[in-house]
Symmetry: C2
DNA sequence: CTGAAAGCGCTTACAG
DNA sequence: CTGAAAGCGCTTACAG
């Protein structure tokens, strides 16, 4: 491997001059030419470790994700990656396989690697998270969950669910099942549920019942089968698209036609919801754009610029085939 | 930040002794106790850059992926990640957004970052790839595409497609459309097609026609619409599950019942193919297991152990609802 | 504009 | 078992 010392010797100058050339310091025309030539010939590129050792920082942004096999995650990552590339930062992706413990562990590991900033696609924010995030002195941005102590970019779950609730009511559904997830997940488990509730709560002649399942489609199938049998709703509002996919399968297994016998809505905007038949009415979050924004924000934070404490990403209700309009 | 010098001073020993303690050199019981205490108290952890600068290598494995939003990619990454964690290596994921140019660029960038090894989830292997992979002196493993100059782990596309072809024939389909992709992609575009051809080629009274589309479901919808209209096959064999999803949508748009009026098969084994109705007959590749294997292999290569030049991953034909058995 | 020197935080022969 | 010293490849005041 060729080093700065080699370049200096070959060009007949001092190492410091080569360094200045590399970092845009003042160097004479002639010296530039000499160094340029040697750099070209050798294909020299500076050793990142040596640079980081001096600089005590890197241009790496670490992103911690709970899982890799999720539409929301991959879209967000694509957005982050895209933007970071433009900003000339490098992205390190750290997967926790849904383990909270690893999430904490990864926060420390990334800090140890001297990343310039961390984007955390959070599922929950526990005491341990808060402690870890405070201990490491690294700029941090939460995506998907809010916490008053940190900057965050959140999907407007409450508002989106509220809009969805209004839409469902406008379709005159009066016997509604809401199939949500654990309340430990504030964004998906709590905000979506509450947003939906806020829209349908005071409505007269409307019955709403709340159920809970896991994030897995498989579990949603079984749960929906129960719901259909015991409650016979005209619509099942699902907290995620994967759950909606499971519900759709359950409807089929029960011999129910969607949307005639049972309407179904999702949440998330996975592409496949539009590809299948019936296509599923869902709430689309702009994950990729959110990723872009997150990347810009964390870089601003790294550069000590001010950014808003909390930002909401956009959403859109995608009205498709899986919801029937009732005529009562 | 506390450094090895701080620890040494606080423990009343030399830096070299602390280093020996850290790296398992011979240190007396008593010294160990002293150093241990100080390390505990300070929460000291060695500076990775300084270590790497000396060692001239890292324990990082770089993985280059063409895209993040694909089932195959995410499953493979999960497998790699999982295994690498056990092996105490760190994973860097580098996304190229399907740009061949960036693929080459990333090879050099990873080399510059002194990764210990590179796993390349390849889509094509061009001359430039070969040149780059030779230039950097880093162990490299190709996944998904084969090339005689490098070690590779390939999904047995040819054999799998052959088996699928036999299955299709066994269901007595005699008017077959094969919907493939560009031949520039050796694995998906060529091997799957050829494997399928090898099974159906000499079959009498069977007509097979080959078509081509992109990897996008959207394009597959349009292409399938054309195929249905012009060729009226009894089955469409699709080179990927995403294409099959598009074909299914097209069948619906054409008013055809699947599988009664038109059978459809996919390739890949995406979870959603089992979740929708009708569920899609497809070929499942064990991506996660392949990822595990890839991780083990690259670490072996890093450690100068011998590994097979080429390995085939496993596959399985998943027989589901989207294929009808004909009675001629 | 340019060079010599010190230092970033570690590891590794080399003596003792 | 332990310490002093050199060196990994860079950058950055400091002189000139």
């Amino acid at each position: 491997m060729v080093t700065i010392a080699d370049i200096a010797k070959m060009a007949g100058v001092a190492k410091s001059t080569v360094s200045r050339y590399l970092n845009g310091g003042s160097v004479s025309e002639e010296t530039i030419r000499k160094i340029e030539k040697v750099v070209q010939e050798t294909g020299y590129s500076p050793n990142k470790f040596a640079q980081s050792l001096k600089a005590k920082k890197t241009n790496i942004i670490g992103t911690i994700v709970p899982r890799l096999d999720s539409y929301a995650t991959s879209q967000t990552l694509i957005g982050i990656d895209e933007q970071l590339r433009d900003l000339e930062y490098q992205l390190i992706i750290s997967n926790t396989s849904q383990s909270l413990e690893r999430e904490i562990e990864n926060i420390y590991i990334l800090a140890q690697q001297k990343v310039a900033g961390i984007i955390l696609l959070a599922t929950m924010v526990t005491e341990k998270h808060i402690k870890a995030l405070h201990e490491i002195k690294v700029p941090i941005l939460l995506v998907g969950q809010e916490n008053e102590e940190f900057h965050s970019l959140i999907h407007n779950d409450y508002q989106a669910a509220h809009s969805l609730g209004e839409y469902v009511l406008a379709q005159r559904h009066t016997r509604i099942a809401y199939l949500g997830v654990t309340k430990e997940d504030i964004a998906v488990g709590v905000k979506r549920r509450e947003g939906f509730m806020s829209a349908v709560a005071d409505k007269v002649d409307t019955e709403v019942k709340y159920f809970e399942t896991s994030f897995k489609s498989e579990d949603a199938i079984h749960k929906t089968l129960e719901i259909i049998e015991q409650y016979k709703p005209s619509i099942i509002v699902c907290a995620t698209d994967n759950i909606a996919l499971g519900a759709l399968k359950a409807a089929y297994l029960s011999g129910l036609q969607v949307p005639k016998d049972l309407s179904i809505t999702g949440f998330g905007g996975y592409e496949v919801t539009d590809l299948i038949h019936p296509s599923i009415t869902t709430v689309k979050f702009f994950y990729k754009e959110a990723g872009n924004f997150a990347a810009k924000s964390i870089v601003k934070m790294v550069n000590k610029e001010e950014i808003d404490q909390m930002t909401f990403s956009k959403y859109e209700i995608l009205k498709r085939e899986s919801v029937d309009k009732k005529n009562n």
